[in-house]
């Protein structure tokens, strides 16, 4: 790697000190939010696999024709296909990258990584989490006890094996990961960016604290009064957040806990289209579903009311007990 693996502390502090941390409204459109992501940036993605994927924001970034993004996420699903296949990202940092266990390998990932067009840095799942956590805590590393002895470690000279100064045991230090910007989708937040997350949080809280900027997309924007009535439900504080975008069904065709499950017909059709032809199939998909629609709502129309409503019925059912 050419750049330093870990940002020096003074740089980390200096970058944060330049942000406006005041209590202010920051609601913008999906299109405007794309200006927070510049070519070449390191982008952390919230959610995991098919859950709470910031899909609308990824969709908008593809439409805005970003370039050379390095993306990190706990586990990558079809979001990764779109990022690599659209050409906006050429470097993935994750622990697992396929469309989903139901569909086997991702031919899109294989095409780009095996041909050398894109890089996939593999870390263990916990290591990805501890890299975000070190970043969130403002320290250069976290010690962990996995990855040792494996070939996964041999490919990651960025991590350092040490003998523990307390116990003499072997430990691995994984370097802090502080993305330039994080994209996180939540069930609700206020106009300042105070966010509530229902159900599975994945690594989103550490990611929000680790990143130098955060773009929140949200199913709905609620009043600050509502946030202040239950402050122990706030999971991301407003001063981490730089932009708030209200995008109902912002994870489609993936799921958003308690709101909708994955839209599996769309997913099935996607997978058979792109795995049959990982270049042409993906291009055709992007043309029809990403570049084609005038708006996110028009994309949802292409998925279809039937499937959206069915996903909603299934999503809400988690609270039926």
């Amino acid at each position: 790697m050419n750049e330093a693996v870990v940002k020096p502390y003074l740089q980390l502090r200096e970058e944060l000190s330049r942000r406006d941390r005041s209590l202010r409204e920051k609601v913008v459109t999906l299109e405007d939010a794309t200006s927070f992501v510049q070519d070449g940036m390191s982008v952390g993605l919230g959610g995991s696999t098919m859950s709470r994927t910031p899909m609308a924001m990824i969709w908008a970034l593809i439409r805005a024709r970003k370039k050379h993004l390095t993306c990190s996420r706990s586990i990558v699903s079809t979001d990764g296909d779109l990022l690599l296949g659209s050409g906006i990202c050429d470097h993935m940092i994750t622990s697992w990258f396929a469309q989903g266990i139901l569909w086997g390998l991702s031919k899109v990932m294989r095409h780009h990584v095996e041909k050398g067009g894109a890089r996939y840095d593999e870390w263990s799942h916990m290591a990805v989490g501890m890299r975000f956590r070190a970043g969130a805590m403002g320290v250069p590393f976290m010690p962990i006890r996995s990855m040792l002895g494996s070939d996964v470690l041999k490919q990651r000279p960025e991590a350092k094996e040490i003998d523990c100064p307390f116990t003499g045991e072997k430990l691995l230090l994984v370097p802090a990961l502080n993305p330039d910007v994080a994209l996180i989708h939540v069930q609700r937040c206020d106009a300042y960016g105070n966010a509530q997350i229902d159900g599975l949080q994945f690594m989103d809280i550490d990611l929000a604290m680790a990143a130098n900027r955060v773009i929140l997309t949200t199913e709905r924007i609620v009043s600050n009064d509502q946030i202040r009535r239950a402050p122990d439900l706030t999971k991301i504080p407003f001063f981490c957040v730089d932009a708030v975008v209200e995008v109902p069904y912002g994870c489609a065709p993936h799921e958003c806990y308690g709101a909708y499950e994955p839209m599996m017909q769309h997913m099935e059709a996607y997978v058979s289209q792109v795995n049959g032809d990982p270049v042409g199939g993906l291009e055709a998909y992007l043309g029809r579903y990403v570049y084609g629609p005038k708006s996110w709502t028009e994309f949802l129309e292409l998925i279809g009311m039937d499937e959206v409503l069915d996903a909603t019925r299934r999503g809400r059912s988690i609270y039926d007990d």
């Binding site: 098919m50 697992w96 996939y120 799942h125 996995s146 040792l148 070939d151 159900g199 988690i318």
Partner: protein
């Protein structure tokens, strides 16, 4: 009497894996057969089995017919005791709260090392596989049960790439690498159940499945197998096990 043709390879795999679990254990289960087998155990012999999922779930109680498509989906949280961050649930392994790690495998070797990263040379791979996910963490920190299809290309002398460590190069090499705890406990396939011998830590056949011969297992294995002196024959799936399994996975999502 249940005849072998009355169940699929994946069904016997799931049933025999489920039998490896004990009531009261805490099991960290991967998606697919492990998730299904752990749920089967919970619905039959082990009502007090605590199932963890990588998405951040403690004490899941998956609903019949609503199997989650990954361990990060909301279906995994149905009637769970706790939902927490992904890093937090993995840290339970490191702290020592997990009795059994339970995963599938794409390629395994005689020392129980698993590969889910590369087929061929990792610099110029024939196939870039999905990668470790939580597999490396689980197998580094817990006692492991692995459930997988038995094919010669999957049971190899040395994996192309150690994604999830078993006993590495055998003997005490695992502890020497910085992994003093955990290790492979059982491998279950549709043909046999395997354990690992104490000294060299090589895979050995503990039991053959009904109707399977030593030769058949050896023929479908890419390295020379050790057979236990007290080689057993597994009990075939019971009516109750099969009925419960089919109730859980009526669409044969994981048992095709």
């Amino acid at each position: 009497m249940i005849e072998p043709h009355r169940y699929t390879a994946n069904e016997i795999l799931t049933v025999l894996s489920a039998r490896q679990l004990r009531d009261g254990q805490v099991v960290f289960a991967g998606v697919g057969v492990p998730l299904l087998a752990a749920t089967l155990a919970q619905r039959t012999r082990c009502p007090g089995l605590t199932i963890l999922f990588e998405g951040g779930v403690i004490g899941a109680f998956v609903e019949p017919g609503k199997l989650p498509p990954s361990t990060n989906d909301q279906r995994c949280t149905k009637r769970a005791n706790m939902v927490l961050g992904s890093a937090e649930v993995l840290l339970l392994l490191q702290r020592g709260y997990v009795d059994v790690g339970f995963m599938g495998g794409a390629q395994i070797d005689q020392y129980g090392n698993l590969n889910s990263s590369f087929i061929g040379d990792s610099l110029h791979p024939k196939t870039r596989l999905p990668g470790t996910g939580g597999g490396n963490d689980i197998s580094s920190l817990a006692n492991m049960i692995v459930a997988m299809k038995h094919e010669k290309r999957r049971f190899v002398e040395h994996v192309d790439f150690i994604t999830s460590p078993g006993f590495i190069s055998g003997g005490d090499s695992r502890a020497q690498s910085g992994l003093p705890t955990g290790g492979m406990f059982r491998v279950v396939t549709e043909l046999a159940v395997f354990s690992f011998e104490d000294a060299e830590r090589r895979m050995k056949v503990a039991a053959l499945n009904p109707g399977v011969s030593r030769d058949e297992v050896q023929d479908k294995t890419g390295f020379e197998l050790i057979f236990d002196d007290d080689l057993a024959v597994t009990e075939p799936p019971s009516e109750n096990e099969l009925a419960t399994l089919r109730m859980l996975d009526p669409e044969h999502l994981f048992t095709a």
